[in-house]
């Protein structure tokens, strides 16, 4: 169980087919920037490095949809949202808040729109 950020691009098949490589590059770079920022900028003490080092970028979706996920395992879920005994120390959410506008601006330059979501995986 971990925490996941998901960005999804839905466009007409012809537009996405023509510019798929460009959109993939924008999303891949954006997702890597989020993973990097979340791994290195957090308020919790990283004793083992396991949680910060567990970040992964995964491509999903096909056809007319492109989806990229940034996932963290270890204690990520408990740190991001808190538990009964531990307050939340969100790190993936704030990282996406900082980077997503840049991703969106790059996509909009090519006529694309995107949606994002943060949740539990």
């Amino acid at each position: 169980m971990g925490v996941v950020w998901e960005v999804k691009v839905d466009n007409s098949s012809t537009v996405l087919a023509a510019q798929r490589a460009t959109v993939q590059r924008i999303l891949q770079q954006g997702a890597e920037a989020i993973r990097e920022r979340a791994s290195t900028t957090h308020d919790w003490q990283d004793r083992t490095g396991e949680t910060a080092g567990s970040g992964q970028v995964v491509q999903a979706g096909s056809g007319t949809s492109l989806t990229y996920l940034v996932t963290f395992d270890g204690a990520a879920l408990y740190l991001e949202f808190g538990t009964v005994h531990a307050p939340a120390y969100p790190f993936l959410g704030p990282a996406t808040e900082q980077v997503f506008p840049e991703i969106l601006a790059s996509l909009q330059g090519g006529g694309f729109s995107a949606s994002e979501e943060i949740g539990i995986t």
Binding site: F81, V84, P87, P94, I118
Partner: protein
């Protein structure tokens, strides 16, 4: 010479928290669903917390600025959730957080500390854990606040 009306001032995230507390503590339905021991907390819980409770936690914020440095407003995200020792979300947590959401989502208001222009829910938060053999469930959402502070 500037014709900018007035900068946002103070600590807008505290306006957001005060806004949530005002709405939730003054609402009879929320208070009834929380029960006699129910409480609303900001960021931290007391050592001997009673259930259910509502916890308001800051997640992230950023100032919206003009090009020449006027602070227009602050945009923040908060996690607002109810937690209870229950084996299902439905009987108690769902009505409680549905009421909270109906008070917050697409709401706005002015306090002495500033003005909340808009609150929107961004996503639902749902989580369960077992502590000392007892099921605990968390239900709530991530909310975004657009706020201007007016602290002199």
């Amino acid at each position: 010479m500037s014709n900018f009306p007035s900068d946002s001032s103070g600590f807008e995230v505290l306006v957001d928290v005060a806004y949530v507390f005002t709405l939730l503590t003054e609402d009879a339905t929320v208070q009834r669903l929380l029960g006699a021991d129910g409480q609303v907390y900001d960021d931290m819980l007391p050592p001997e917390v009673t259930f259910p409770y509502i916890l308001v936690s800051h997640r992230h914020n950023a100032d919206t600025m003009t090009w020449n440095g006027h602070r227009v407003m602050n945009v923040a995200t908060m996690q607002i959730k109810a937690v209870d020792r229950v084996s299902s979300y439905v009987p108690k947590l769902m009505p409680l957080m549905s009421r909270v959401d109906s008070l917050l989502h697409r709401s706005s208001g002015t306090l002495a500390l500033g003005t909340v222009f808009q609150v929107n829910r961004q996503s639902i938060y749902k989580f369960s854990e077992i502590l000392e053999g007892v099921e605990h469930r968390h239900l709530g959402g991530i909310y975004r606040f657009w706020t201007k502070g007016s602290l002199a």
